[in-house]
Amino acid sequence: MNLEDQGKKVETEWYNHPTIVTNCIIGLIAVIIILSQSYAVNHHLSTSDIFISIFNHNSIYLLSLVYFVFLKFSFGKKYFNYLNVFLILLYFLIMVTSLLTVFQSFSLTTLLSFAIHIILFVYLFHTFFRGTRVWKEFNLQQSPFNEISNDGYFYSVMILSIIFLAVNLISAVTFDGVILSLLDCFYVILFSRYVYLYRVFMDRKEKVGQRENLFDVEKVVDTMHDVGKKVENFVEDVHLDQAIDNVTEMVSDLKEEVVSQLSKKDTQGIKKKKVESQKKGNVDKKERKNVSSKAIKSIKKDQDKGGE
């Protein structure tokens, strides 16, 4: 029954086809409601018994019927997430009432009923909220109940419902009760199968999404590889390596020329500076001589004037 291994053969069996399963559930609910009412009339039950017991037994089926009938219409498909919230709330209430029933009349049937309903509620919560904002906002991926596999949930519900059926059949007094107990068991198994198929669909959708993401990365790697090959081909075609070598040689030659010219300019500059400095020095010497001769002359004049 492992759907993930079967691949495309999933939709051939009736219990693996969601449409057939939902149709079976709708049909089964209709049969349960009609049979329970007809049995009540046959057994000449009072109106109070019908309203209290039969209606109580059928109320859950009526509300589930509303859910599955809405799924057949475009309105229900559009507001599928809202319908799931309604279903989860319904099964939460059923879980709470079954817990209260355990306190009211403690027995194996009430305990089994509570166990089935609590597992169904947790299963619904962790299946129908997948891929929705509630899953992301409340980080339901980190929930410990998320680690239980889909098969684990389904088979636990199935086994518990079969045990519950066995206990009911042991305590059955009338043939009508036997039929109703069997139909109740079939409904629980079909309902859990519907939830199982939805989770399989969501898991498959997540895997496909992951594969698409991986494919994008691979695509990027392939394109980079292609670009690299194209560059290599271009380099080979255009002999770019030779051109690069030529350019480098030219650059080195230019460099040498520039360096040599710079060095020449420097030497010329130094020589000029030397000549200029020499000239300056000669000029300075001449100036000094003139100044000193003038000074000597002035001193001599002063001396002559003083002698006179």
Binding site: I52, N56, N81, L93, Q104, T109, T174, D184, L197
Partner: protein, 112 residues
Amino acid sequence: MNLFEEIDQVKKELPKFKTITKKVEKYSFNGYQRFAIVTYCICFCLGIILGNLFPACGSSSSLYAVECMSREFNFSLMIFVWFISFLFCLFFFAIGHIILLLTSINDKLGKR
């Protein structure tokens, strides 16, 4: 096409929890609306109490027998009380909403 594939193409996303809380926080309740909310809370608890007080037959196998094997919480009675109280409180909530609208219209006309 698979039923779930059809649904996946068409389905609408749930609203964000923050948007719902923001809308509720912005809304101001008047006396009638508060009365309706308080009454519904009381009827909610009353539904749970009545469901416990009038239990129904729990086991399907003994549903048509003379004596019922096990009694369970009356889920249908609780839902029935909740539904009736919801309709009753909705009526008062609507009256309060109409009064709120009328007062806002009166205020706007008074400002002009």
